[in-house]
């Protein structure tokens, strides 16, 4: 089963453009990342620049409307993620607990939808999705 671990750092919603984590935090996190990789569970990971360097698009009535960050109404934002492959939700939670998170941080653990999770008629309508995933995976390697 695949799970996404979403890091939600408190206060990141108002971080200035170019905000960087400090050296100690980076080093501690890299140790954790290494442990995920050594255990053979790490599929992917990334950090995200703050919302002040991002944008939002809303699709009310199907018409796209763009707004630049930061987003004053947002009380929490994603700061980064890990994608892991484990046997159960409990195992995913155990890994989340091992993260060297700070007091103002929360990790949200979410299960990834697998093709096989969908009923047969939905699988048929979405046929070709796994090929798409494989193709984009090849792209990433290039």
């Amino acid at each position: 089963m695949r799970f996404m671990l979403l890091m939600i750092p408190g206060g990141y919603e108002s971080a200035a453009p170019g905000t960087l984590p400090d050296a100690k935090a980076v080093a501690a996190m890299m140790k954790y990342n290494e442990s995920l990789q050594r255990a053979g569970v790490l599929l992917a990971l990334d950090g995200l620049h703050p919302p002040s360097m991002g944008a939002r698009v809303s699709f009310a009535g199907g018409k796209p409307k763009v707004s630049d960050g930061p987003f004053s109404e947002a009380k929490e934002v994603v700061g980064g993620y890990w994608m892991i492959q484990v046997r159960s939700k409990e195992e995913a939670i155990e890994w989340a607990k091992r993260c060297p998170g700070s007091d103002n941080e929360v990790i949200e653990v979410r299960q990834v939808q697998e093709f096989a999770d969908f009923p047969p008629d939905v699988q048929e309508a979405a046929a070709g999705f796994s090929e798409l995933q494989a193709q984009s995976g090849q792209l990433k390697g290039s």
Partner: protein, 143 residues
């Protein structure tokens, strides 16, 4: 540069309502265009937060809270990872997505160089090795 495209949850996604054939077909066509243009790096849907959990950190203490997270206004339902030349290019692509009523957030992804001096040469090597190894595992997981 890489951009993460975060699709926000709504009542339907949180209820576990499955997309209908029309939406799946339109989204499939959109994904196909992204792959053909060399933009698509990754994309996944997430199960509703009722199947998830949150972990809070307080010193050495860890508190686990089971979903759903009904008070959270910023839940994610899915994401893409795109390779683009600029945030503007990502926005132009996103405008073409077959969404109706959905909210989507675009965020720049940290590249190794972005971390500055905190990412020492040793850490940089470690980071590159981790990525290469996890990409191998990811490809195997997708087969």
């Amino acid at each position: 540069m890489r951009v993460m495209v975060l699709v926000k949850a709504d009542k339907d996604s949180e209820a576990g309502t499955l997309p209908d054939e029309k939406i799946l077909t339109e989204m499939g066509q959109f994904n196909e265009e992204l792959v053909k243009a060399g933009v698509m790096l990754a994309g996944e849907g997430l199960q509703p937060s009722s199947k998830g959990a949150r972990v809070r950190f307080s010193g050495a203490k860890r508190t686990v809270i089971d979903g759903p997270f009904t008070e959270a206004k910023e839940l994610i339902a899915g994401y893409w990872l795109w390779q683009v030349k600029s945030m503007d290019e990502a926005i132009e692509w996103l405008k073409r997505a077959p969404f109706d009523q959905t909210e989507v957030e675009l965020r720049q992804v940290f590249e190794t160089e972005d971390f500055g001096p905190a990412m020492t040469p040793e850490l940089r090597e470690q980071e590159e090795r981790l990525r290469a190894q996890s990409e191998q595992l990811s490809k195997a997981a997708n087969l």
